[in-house]
């Protein structure tokens, strides 16, 4: 396959950045999108050009590091799939592909397609945890968790914190990310104790980190590679109301 790429190149946080055209030649359909970028980079290095900087880690669809925006869609056009698991067979020979970094004020570009997503970590640090005694391993069945609650918490825990929801949101909001953690912990007995404080501080921290407010556009759910649902945002809102009323 031969493809035309328009890739966002930006030397550093202060650089204005621009799209640069590249020809990706002799790409096989079995390559992942990142492997295709590797091939393009090898060509750039051979010509003594700077390779395109992009984030990646596990390349197994687990870690979420590789999130970038293909043709305006964070994590690419394949539903519930990370970029590293997106294969070139989903594109056609001769396609033109636009590759841009995740865009939000809270995700400053470090270089090219690499953005700083530390703001998500700071939301977690503010309240995305439970407090418990350390020591010996607790008995696995000491606290009973109803099956439905366990399932719901696990669904919410699927979030890999890749930031696609933020990048997809017209308001640059991290509400889906925050709601997933709030739901996961508020649904389990271990997390219930701090649920009221958690929802307040995490949504507060979200604003302090420069994210926007949820506008109920549901772009986040459509872009999420793990299928995190906007019903968790409704759950967050309920938790917030409950926290303010009690």
């Amino acid at each position: 396959m031969n493809l035309t790429l328009y890739v966002w190149r930006q030397k550093g946080p202060k650089d204005a950045g621009r799209l640069v055209r590249y020809e990706a030649k002799d790409i096989t359909p079995d390559m992942s999108f990142l492997e295709m970028l590797d091939v393009v980079n090898e060509g750039l290095v051979r010509n003594s050009d700077d390779p395109i900087a992009f984030d990646h880690d596990c390349r197994e669809g687990i870690c979420g590091m590789c999130a970038l925006v293909i043709n305006g869609i964070p994590q690419g056009p394949q539903k519930k799939t990370t970029i590293c698991q997106l294969h070139m067979r989903h594109f056609k020979n001769g396609d033109t592909i636009y590759v841009e970094p995740l865009r939000a004020r809270a995700f400053p570009v470090i270089r090219d397609l690499v953005v700083d997503r530390g703001s998500l970590d700071r939301i977690i640090q503010s309240g995305g945890y439970i407090s418990t005694h350390t020591g010996g391993v607790p008995d696995g069945n000491a606290i009973l968790v109803p099956k439905n609650d366990a399932d719901k918490a696990m669904d919410a825990a699927e979030c890999i914190g890749c930031g696609a929801c933020v990048a997809a949101c017209p308001n640059g909001s991290a509400m889906l990310f925050t709601a997933a953690k709030v739901t996961q912990l508020a649904t389990l007995p271990q997390g219930r104790t701090e649920a009221a404080r958690r929802v307040c501080v995490m949504t507060e921290e979200m604003l302090s980190q420069g994210f926007g407010n949820c506008g109920n556009h549901y772009e986040c759910q459509a872009a999420c590679p793990k299928g995190i649902k906007v019903q968790f945002i409704a759950k967050l809102n309920r938790e917030f109301i409950k926290a303010k009323l009690t």
Binding site: S173, F211, N213, R238
Partner: protein, 220 residues
């Protein structure tokens, strides 16, 4: 006292929005009295109780003020959170209506001022003012004012365009307000989305019926 949190301010938007939807339902029912020849009587009854009218108006002014204030504040914040858009933008689920709430809101707000000057204060078309023309029972002739106004295609078009903005605003706003209150589950979300869009169309049609039927000379 006033909320500063993200969810708190959105709850104010949802609450004031929902109360205003109740008002526009009430308003359109009042409009319907024109089909039964009862509009002058309805208007006379409404204005027979000034304390009630004014407390209702005061309530509405408070609702509008909060909705507009937080609407603008949240929009400015949201725009600041997304300073750079994509060269290639691709909406997966966001709608034109949802993305342009602040603009359709601005159209509705401007229309509201015109609408009040037109039918309540009656200064935009003084020749048609109901306060100056009494019907046979000595009541202000609201029917004459409404019919003569909408026979002017310019005025009818302003109302039609403004109601289109209201339709777009409600088609996102109604479903959005339920989500903000947390009244959503996996089963109910698609239903609420469709019901909200349907209610917005019904209200749009109910509102444009009066100017359109008059402009078409069906109501005269």
């Amino acid at each position: 006292m006033l909320p500063t949190s993200s969810v708190g301010r959105k709850l104010v938007m949802a609450a004031t929005g929902q109360l205003m939807v109740l008002f526009i339902i009430l308003h359109v029912l009042g409009n319907a009295t024109i089909y039964f020849g009862l509009l002058n009587a309805y208007a006379a009854h409404l204005h027979a109780l000034p304390p009630l009218v004014w407390s209702f108006r005061l309530g509405l002014i408070i609702l509008f003020s909060f909705h507009i204030f937080y609407g603008i504040a949240l929009t400015l914040e949201n725009n600041a959170a997304k300073p750079q858009s994509y060269v290639m933008r691709n909406d997966l689920s966001a709608t034109f209506a949802g993305r342009n709430m602040v603009w359709t809101g601005a159209v509705i707000g401007s229309f509201l001022i015109y609408h009040l000057l037109h039918f309540t204060v009656q200064v935009t078309n003084p020749a048609l003012a109901a306060a100056k023309h009494m019907d046979t029972l000595g009541r202000p002739d609201v029917v004459r004012m409404v019919i003569k106004s909408f026979q002017d295609l310019g005025i009818a078009s302003v109302y039609l365009l403004s109601m289109t903005a209201l339709w777009l605003h409600l088609s996102h706003g109604i479903q959005s307000s339920f989500q903000t209150w947390g009244l959503n589950s996996e089963q109910s979300l698609p239903i609420i989305k469709r019901a909200g869009a349907f209610a917005a169309i019904v209200l749009f049609l109910a509102y444009i019926a009066v100017p359109v039927l008059i402009a078409m000379k069906i109501v005269r």
